[in-house]
Symmetry: C2
Subunit: 205 residues, 2 copies
Amino acid sequence: MVVKNNEQGVSSLHELLRQRWSPHHFSSRAVGREKLTALFQAAQSAPSSYNEQPWAFIVATKENPEDFGRILAALMPRNQEWAQHAPVLIVSVAKINLDRDGKANRHALYDLGAASAHLTFQATALGLYVHQMGGFSHEKIVEEFSIPEGYEPVAVLAVGYLDEEKSPAQMIRKRKALKDFVFESHWGISSPSLALEDKKGFSIN
Amino acid sequence: MVVKNNEQGVSSLHELLRQRWSPHHFSSRAVGREKLTALFQAAQSAPSSYNEQPWAFIVATKENPEDFGRILAALMPRNQEWAQHAPVLIVSVAKINLDRDGKANRHALYDLGAASAHLTFQATALGLYVHQMGGFSHEKIVEEFSIPEGYEPVAVLAVGYLDEEKSPAQMIRKRKALKDFVFESHWGISSPSLALEDKKGFSIN
């Protein structure tokens, strides 16, 4: 599959990755039960170090305004402004110690990030959008939901359909060029094994 | 799209997530330059906190046996046994401090995990498989590739085509049930907003 992308020139980026972006304008349309379930089945399917699956999620939908409000109130005010319109908020939580021996799991956050990315792919496939936030009070979330010792809330995900009237039709994706983060043989040496990019970081293959 | 999955009963899990698994048997077939590039374009497309893109990758292919050997030698012996047959090894590296203010980036590993999941999703779309490893010597990798202060190698990814003769036709995915990690209202309370699962954690919708 070859697709055109604003930023990448002609790219073979999968269409679900190309379509994904983090909007600020969500429609009030609810997310159905089956779709919500599919999001967590996607997270469940992620790989993890020692198959520890060091992840948990706290979900709140607009159908339960009290719980929704408890997550919303923990967000930074500038996130509350737009996230209040999303129909679903989800807290992603990492289990920071290993089940196998109780030691620190140095891959807990990495694996949780992968699980959240799986959730997001699935969302995109279902016509949904996800906007993740790091800007929230960890203390408030821990207290509100009685998150126990050994677990750490990491991000809040707003999930829903796009408000197509208020949202821009496309986003511009600002990213570092591959040559600036894909190295070979030595740190800082751009990999010669990749297809050429032009000076703006656009792939020209 | 509704698909049947070994473990989930009838599930709407996207087929690329369903197909993904971490094999131990790679074919010697090389990964072409365009496909290799597409993997990193996928990583590039991942979302990140403050759009910091706190990731870098060191790639080695079998075409460059010296570099390949340097990554391979850093793996734990039990990983070397099978990973030596993969045509590509990639080290994923997190930038642990923020560009914006130099403080610790508490989402660096989370975002790198998402970027690696994007890479893996793209790999699956291209007929490739990825097996990630946490079992390697961080010190050896840092020294061999002169990874500077402020960056941390997190995983090594073996990438390639499946050796279909040696590999099982399917994997069994062992995962916790949704009810054990998707909560609502309070920690440990299974979310009632999801579609029902039976006692084995299989979705029955």
